[in-house]
Symmetry: C2
Subunit: 328 residues, 2 copies
C-alpha cells in the first residue's frame, strides 16, 4: 500500500515535493492545500485535488503524512503544531536559533494528537546537521566548519530587493577557496565571518535610481552584508532573467580531528553538496524523511523527532535485507 | 556512570580502540583480552587488566560492551556470534559479500543472549555505507560511486608479501583524478575497474631475487592486480621503513542524481575521508557505535544491528537537547 501524502502550501518547495513524490514509487500525492482560492491553482499532477487549507481536517483519515511547505518566519511556528494534532507531519523549519522552542511546541501537539512530527528537514538543517553529528561523534577532539555556496540566499536577495530603487536582485553566497583549503589541511584555523564567505549581488535598478546609494546601502546593511566583502553588479532586467533565474546552492561540512596515543594523526571528514535547485533538493530530503515518519507512526511512536532521531534505514524504499546486501 | 568497555584482540585496531576510549570521557577500558600469554602483552593504559580470551566469560557482569578487534576472514565469523551470547558487542566485519550470512549468525546469538550486537562498523562498511544509504534515499534517480584512497590496502600488501623473494611490501590504492572529476560533473559515466583506481607497490626484494619476475607476478595476479594499471617500485629496506610505515587511507562516496518536472536539475552529494591512520579512524567510529549499542541494550533491545538501524543521536556524548541546540 502506498504512502498517501498531502502538500500544505504550494510555492517552490511544494512544487519540489510534488516532483519528488513522482520519483518514489511507494508514494502517492492525495491533495494540495492552499490559502489561495483552490480553483485558481494549477498543479503539475493530474487527478490530484486542490483544496483550501480550511478543508485539511476532513483529510484526517485519507492522508498518511502532511508535508508543510510554508516559511519558517511566520507560517511553520503556527502550522506545524496545529497540523501535528491531526496528521503525521514533516516540516523544514530552518531558523536554527528557534529550533528548541519549535521542537517543544510541536512535540506537545504531536503527542496530544498521537502523531509523529519530523521538523527541520532539508539540507541545513538536515543533511548538514547529520554530518556535523556523525563527524563530531567519531572525532571528539576536533573542529567543525560549515561553508555555504556557491548559491542563492533567498533572505539576502529579499533584503536587497527591499532597497528603494531596486527592481529585482539576487545574492550569491560564495565560500572562500583559500579558507576551504586551510580547513582541509587539518590546521584547524580560526576563521572570521569575512574570511569564510564573500557575497555577490546582481541588481536590476530603476533607471532613475542612484546606483551609488544602492551599492552603499547593500554593503553597509547590518547582519546581512556589513561583515562580508560584497561585490555589487548592476545588470539589465533582460540579463537578470536570462542568467539568474535558477536557484542553485550547496556547501561543505568539514570536521578535522586528531587521534593516536599522542594525537599524532589527523583526519579530515568532508561532506559537500552541489545543487542545481535548492528547493528541489530540500524537497527530496523531506520526502525521504516523510517515509520514515510514516514508518515510525506505524510502529506506534508519537511526538516530535529530528533527523538525529531517525534510524537511516527508515528513509529508504529498500528493505533492511536489501540495504545490508547492497549498500553496507 | 561510565560505559565499561572490553577489547577483544590487541593488534592495530585494538590499540586504536584503546586510544579512542581515552578521547571519550563517558567510557572506561576495563580489560584487554588476548590469545597470547597475557603476561607477555604490554598495553598503553595503566591499571587495566590483560586477560586471556578464555577468561572473557567471567567478565559478563563487569563489561557493558565488548569490542571485537579480530580479522574478518576467520576470527569474527566465529568470535562475534560466540561473544554476542554473553555481551553487547561491536565488530568491524568487512567482507561485504558475507555480511548477510554474518548478520544472521550474530542475530541469532545476540537474541539468544538477550544482547545487542552491532556489526560491520568502521568507514567501509560503516560511514561510507551510511552515506550511500542517505544519498540514495534522497536522490532515488541517480548513480552511486565509491572510490578508495589514496591509501594502504592491507590485503593487497599481504598478497605482494607472499610472493617469493619479497621481504616486505606496501600497496597504495589511488583513485584516478579524471574519473573523480567526471563523476562530480554529474555526467554519470560508466567506469571500468581500471578507469577508477590505479595501484602502486613499494617492494623490498631479497638481493638475489629476480625483480622482473616479481613485478610480473604482481601485475598479473588475478583479482588483486590484473584488472588495474599497477606501478611497482623496488626500494631499500631503509627507505621502506622511513617512508612507508604509516597506514593512511580514505576515499570518496559520490552520488549524482536528477530532480525536477523534466529531470532538468542535477545534484552532487559527496562524502570524503582523508585519514592519517586507517585503524585509528576505524576504531573511532567503532567506539561511537559502542556507545549507541550500550544505549540500545539499556532500552531493552536485542539482536543484530548495523549502522543503518541506529538513530544518529545515540552515537553522541551530547544529550538530545544539546544536539538540537548546537548541531541541528
Amino acid at each position: 500500500m502506498s504512502i498517501k501524502v498531502g502538500i500544505y502550501g504550494y510555492g517552490n518547495l511544494g512544487r519540489g515535493i510534488e516532483n519528488a513524490i513522482r520519483q518514489n514509487p511507494d508514494m502517492e500525492l492525495v491533495a494540495v492545500f492552499t490559502r489561495r482560492a483552490p480553483e485558481t491553482l494549477k498543479i503539475g499532477t493530474e487527478g490530484v485535488k486542490v483544496e483550501h487549507v480550511s478543508a485539511a481536517e476532513s483529510y484526517k483519515n485519507k492522508i498518511d503524512v502532511m508535508i508543510l511547505c510554508g516559511g519558517s518566519a511566520t507560517d511553520l511556528p503556527v502550522q506545524t503544531p496545529e497540523l501535528a494534532k491531526m496528521f503525521t507531519v514533516v516540516d523544514s523549519f530552518d531558523t536554527h536559533a528557534r529550533i528548541p522552542e519549535h521542537f517543544d511546541n510541536v512535540d506537545s501537539a504531536a503527542k496530544e494528537g498521537g502523531n509523529v512530527a519530523v521538523i527541520s528537514c532539508g539540507w541545513d538543517p538536515g543533511m548538514f546537521s547529520l554530518n556535523r553529528l556523525y563527524a563530531s561523534a567519531v572525532l571528539p577532539e576536533g573542529e567543525d566548519y560549515t561553508f555555504w555556496g556557491k548559491g542563492v540566499s533567498q533572505g539576502h536577495s529579499d533584503a536587497v530587493r527591499r532597497i528603494e530603487g531596486v527592481l529585482d536582485a539576487k545574492q550569491y553566497t560564495i565560500p572562500v577557496e583559500s579558507a576551504l583549503e586551510a580547513v582541509r589541511s587539518g590546521s584547524a584555523p580560526t576563521l572570521t565571518t569575512r574570511e569564510k564567505h564573500t557575497r555577490e549581488c546582481f541588481v536590476v535598478a530603476d533607471e532613475n535610481a542612484d546606483k551609488e546609494r544602492i551599492e552603499k546601502e547593500i554593503k553597509e546593511m547590518p547582519n546581512y552584508f556589513a561583515d562580508y566583502d560584497t561585490t555589487v553588479h548592476f545588470i539589465s532586467m533582460e540579463e537578470f532573467k536570462r542568467e539568474h533565474s535558477s536557484i542553485p546552492h550547496g556547501g561543505f561540512v568539514i570536521r578535522t580531528g586528531k587521534t593516536g596515543a599522542n594525537k599524532e594523526n589527523t583526519h579530515v571528514i568532508e561532506y559537500s553538496l552541489k545543487l542545481d535547485s535548492n528547493p528541489e533538493f530540500t524537497a527530496s530530503v523531506i520526502v525521504a524523511f516523510a517515509r520514515a515518519a510514516v514508518r515510525l507512526a506505524n510502529k506506534g511512536e508519537t511526538g516530535c523527532k529530528t533527523v538525529f532521531d531517525i534510524p537511516p534505514a527508515l528513509l529508504s524504499i529498500q528493505s533492511a535485507e536489501e540495504l545490508r546486501a547492497h549498500l553496507l
